[in-house]
Symmetry: D4
Subunit: 231 residues, 8 copies
């Protein structure tokens, strides 16, 4: 960066919005990603990076031992969410988990994991329900109780993006739909799923940007904080 520039940090973002700054590795070099990660760790003792290349994840991992890396999802979390077993236990014990994260197909997994890991980074408990797409809709029906017991549901789907409508027609829970860019041809990089979700016949389905698992998780956290405010 040029020394003449005048960069202004946003130090109070977590206070204002309930979620700290995170690193979007999309357009960054490896060096930039590591430097930003380090800055966040130094400032607050924790950091989250999404959309990182394998090389960037490796470099972050070397710089910050103890970081949890999910290569497929391109996510780095520091410190590694230690409360995992506890969380799983709680999930079994309690009737209600915080968020159910659904993925229609295996190709939607990276985005679904981005959402799930963002939730764990903030201390919430996601229940992963993958491969429940509408090509074999019985797989969803057999697990409907887990959907009903969640406080919020995140639904990731590409191609025709129909899963949020199905879930929305079966449940009264808040639904955050994430269109993924999975598909080809007239999928137009996620446009088909995006338009389908925006036009859901199940009212009350809300939508985030294509492949924005991170944003869906933050939207869920905004809801969960309101619930815990009252609880």
């Amino acid at each position: 960066m040029d020394d003449r520039t005048d960069i202004i940090m946003d130090l109070e973002r977590e206070t204002r919005t309930g979620f700290p700054e995170a690193i979007y590795g999309g357009g960054k070099t490896i060096e930039q990603s590591v430097r930003a990660f380090t800055a966040l760790v130094k400032r607050g003792g924790k950091a989250l990076a999404t959309r990182c290349s394998r090389e960037a994840l490796d470099a972050i991992s070397v710089a910050h031992p103890g970081t949890f890396i999910h290569e497929l999802a391109g996510v780095a979390v520091f410190p590694a969410p230690a409360r995992r077993e506890a969380a799983a236990a709680r999930s079994e014990a309690d009737a209600a988990v915080d968020v159910a994260v659904l993925a229609a197909g295996t190709s939607d997994l990276p985005i679904a994991e981005e959402a799930a890991l963002t939730l764990e980074f903030s201390g919430f408990v996601p229940d992963r329900l993958f491969d429940v797409g509408i090509a074999g809709i019985h797989r969803l029906f057999e697990r409907l109780d887990r959907v009903h017991s969640a406080r919020v549901v995140i639904v990731c789907a590409g191609m025709e993006g129909a899963l949020p409508s199905i879930v929305g027609g079966l449940s009264s829970v808040p639904i955050i739909a994430v269109p993924t860019s999975v598909g080809y041809g007239a999928n137009f990089q996620g446009l088909s799923a995006l338009l389908a979700m925006l036009n859901s016949c199940a009212p009350g389905v809300t939508v985030v940007n294509i492949d924005n698992g991170f944003g869906a998780a933050v939207a869920a956290i905004r809801i969960l904080r309101q619930i815990s405010r009252l609880a």
Copy 2:
């Protein structure tokens, strides 16, 4: 029409393609529609017109008593499909009907009727299954036997256009999906349903143009003629 023009009739279309010329009332004046209808009746004793305004339907009806008119669908059929009760009877008696015509919502009805009436015009037996959209998917599940017993299924849906994917995941029957322009905003006049159907995760779903109930029926007839060729 100007006398200098040189219009060339396509008299053998039915011989070649298995379906006679029909009238698309979309861009025609009332007078043009009636004249074309009369020409078809004179030539072959039968006529089908789609996408007609109420006024055009009335004018056709006056010119050709005995025409069956479906105002909502904008369709005129001559002669009125007399075998209706017989067909219904046959539909009950047989295990298999020719075509099941599904409509997701009430707004998709005009397009679904356009398909059903085109089938009846050609002597086939449609089984109408309306209002079985995915916002209340149990309504479809309760009638799955009627889907399974059809030789071909036509599925009309607007908005997120997900119904063909559901049907395609539950049945091995040929599926012709008709995206309708039902919706608003990011529906973009049927684009959302069109893209969704083209990206169906249920393989083997085929698609026709937006609101093209007529084309879906002709596609079904092409299949049915192959079946009867062997039967």
Copy 3:
């Protein structure tokens, strides 16, 4: 409707999804709208219709005295939300209202009212904050306390659709953004606001279809029901 069709009612939608069937007057004739409204009133003693023409609203009003009509928003609600004064009172007394409904400009008002009236129809208390668009952003800042005290915020904006980003950067509350078709030229019937909101730099903003005030309200109700489940 033709007598051969087989319409299937979705009687348990409220049980399943927390919100009863409502009437979208968009593609309906006056007669259809009134008939559907009457059917809902007979079944459940209440009805909501959106996107109705002035003529349809008048006809509903004649058929069902005691219906509250909002002409600008194209909404009919039966019975008229009687708890209005009480609600206003409660809104003043309590620190927290249920939902703040923001509109950027006066042209966004019909959509914002559609959302607010849907909330009132379901017994929730909306706090209307209109004309707080970013062309004069101080108008929002002077009322930030009312935003902060809401459990959910619905933000309606057309043109560049930037208001949800501003609110999202200032508050940790759940935000449902409604792009409106207000604008002209490169607005492309709401596309500019829709894309802007999907790309919000404030994470956790969720989006519904263009002009879908009704859907935003149902999304808010899904959240509010989760909150009251715990409260």
Copy 4:
């Protein structure tokens, strides 16, 4: 894959839809493709993979000797369709072949082969008719008898995508049109062919996604199964 995920297999897909799960190699790593291929072979003794890179095909071939590989089409089939000579014999002897697969130009060949190989994988007999595009339409006319003798016709074309319309105007057989992404500039990755086919003036032409040779074959198989149900 992370051990916390909950993958749900769709074991009965063939029973329900008439076609088993296949592998779309598009977004998969070589390792993922091989693993999925092996899983299918183990479960059912057969496997089909499409859109695989040369490297993935090689790896599959090494892991499963006896796999038929078509590099240009990116397809792997196990076991190699042994009935080939028999099929060719039958094709000559019989008046009717199962499916005629047409390709407009040499660039459409990979997609056409994807369709033909999918048909052979399922035991059906495709008749390949390549390079019969409309730039030299006499080439099609000289082979029209082979089109007429097929039960179903799959037509692959890029650029202006006109071949399905020509075939549809000359034959009463079911037609499945596959727009290919062949072209450049205002082709917009297959959009020109897709729109042309959806707007075919030959009624009854149905369309699948851009470059979706696999889907076209499955659509043909859905039809062929109905025919054989009666035969």
Copy 5:
């Protein structure tokens, strides 16, 4: 028009470009159209107006008796092309006509007539070949000699817009393709035909704007003037 504006006439356009100013009635009031028509008649003794409403055509006709009006095409020509019979005679006598104007379907006729009348306005001889679309391609083949004998061919087609490709594959004559907005749904107001023509596999096909019969005629005239320069 306001008196302060400073309108600058383009008096030498015909000298420069070979074609005089013509009136596009599209966005004009009846009064504006008549005034402009009168101005052209006064200046040069002749005038051509396209895309006029029936009312505008009537008003022009009243103001300028002797104007030829083609209502369907929305065209007014003054003076009425008197050489018509002579032209027809010449067309029969000569081997070569100036321009063959093809129209795929009856709905493309207004645009084809706009082209033909513009040619006649300039003293050229169009040969009208209407209803030769690819749904019944034999109708074109039976008249191929008339295509081959033309110096230039204008081809008007909507929907899948394939006719120019067919003609381009059969003839070495210059081809000007006019996409029309005939169609619905995924036709997108002529986009399907436009893209198809731009992607024609028959090389050397050129394209004008959607519904621009006038522009196609002027393009043909540019070519014809070059031919006559040498003849």
Copy 6:
């Protein structure tokens, strides 16, 4: 290629359309390009290949010594147009050259050369007028005589694509506009120039596909053959 495929050559294309088959190197491997080039040379003693990579050009050059290679344009011509000096001479002597090929900017040069070389391949004489874009329109004005003396004008331009309109307003010669994909951002890979040219206010401008210099040349040749038919 698989031995089961049935490739059909189009041997009489030149007889029918006035231009022989050429090789589009776009989607071809080096091997495919060389093989196709060799086939054309063997059959007719000449060959033209466009859109070839540097590697493909080198391979063709090795296989066919005496081939003229234009690396920037990606074109190979065999035999090398020997009549070049003669042509230049003729161009100076005559008042009229066959075709003026204009390019707006240096980035449009590859496309303009593709057109010019295609013309030379067929024995026509192009006059190259490069870098005459509207950012410095005086450069065009100083060379207008060369535009006026041409029988046909090909105009290549990217970005706002305005050059054909300027030329069309100054000359009565046939104009073939080639939008190029030169630009970035809201250029959308040539869409801006394409739309601009289709909407030219200079009537009679015709357009070919984005970057289609080859097609523009063939369109010019179609015109030139008509002229020479009479000459």
Copy 7:
């Protein structure tokens, strides 16, 4: 408006941004437009309304005698710009006028007038240069001195939108380009002109929304205020 709404006026907009609130009549009823106009007159003694229907203009005129009405442009200005003759005088006397407003064709006049009247409303002096489009570019060249003598140039053009590029290549003055929706077919309601202007090869051309003559004028005023700050 409902009494429950909470409208917040933006009283200091002129202080902050240099231009007072104006009325966009686009989506307003006649009654709403008149009421808003009256409010502005009462508050500041002046008002400007754009995009008003003829009926709304009449109603405003009746309510506020002394309002200047431009029907074609849909604009109402109060008080009528009395300094007009003075301004014209000044324009002749001075070397420099404030703003030159160019319009390519007569159809662009309403938008150009919207800009010119907005400037006059604010006390600035526009020099109108209409009908100087590129189809007859000499008309512009003959008036170049008037372009050079302006401080800012507003250029309105539809169709291919090339005029700003020409002006930008000839002058160093600030240029604000206004794409108009004039055109049809592939014009896509102004998209062609918008994209062309955004891709202008003349650097430093800036663009406003389609048909936004008002916005262009305000942009010019922002510049003029900076100039007068120093002068």
Copy 8:
């Protein structure tokens, strides 16, 4: 380049338009970029190149020692702007700087630097205000005085592109908005920011092409020259 081409230099561009020719490195080879840079240096003793790869920048640097290179922005400036410290000094001393260059996020920096360096190349003084996006809008408010003191403001923003609207609502200065392609998914390579800026509710905001920092700087220079003409 081929020796037959006829390249015409535009030597007087700076005289005409106030800004000399610059090199757009986007589609150029390293060799072409260096050659063009050298040509400009030879002719006028200075050169500016934008959108250069790291390799091209290195090659330019080697060929012309004393060139200032900004790798992130892809810009080369010769000679290095020596007046930098002086300029900074002047910026502190004066109340008014020439141009404030704002960037919403760190990812918008390359484009903002392209603008700033183009300004410095021409001797103007930019004031860089980076990372003042609306996700933390207080960062802008704390620096509003620097915005108010500028003669022109350039605002670079990607994603929802809202920053220009905010600035436009707070200041009366000329605003040039630069949409950047920063974002993903429904950002569509900068379309979301472009549409948002064109639809700004703050009147008088003008827009340049996506990522066109260079064009924004030239637009600013056009304004600054007018100011200095009077000063």
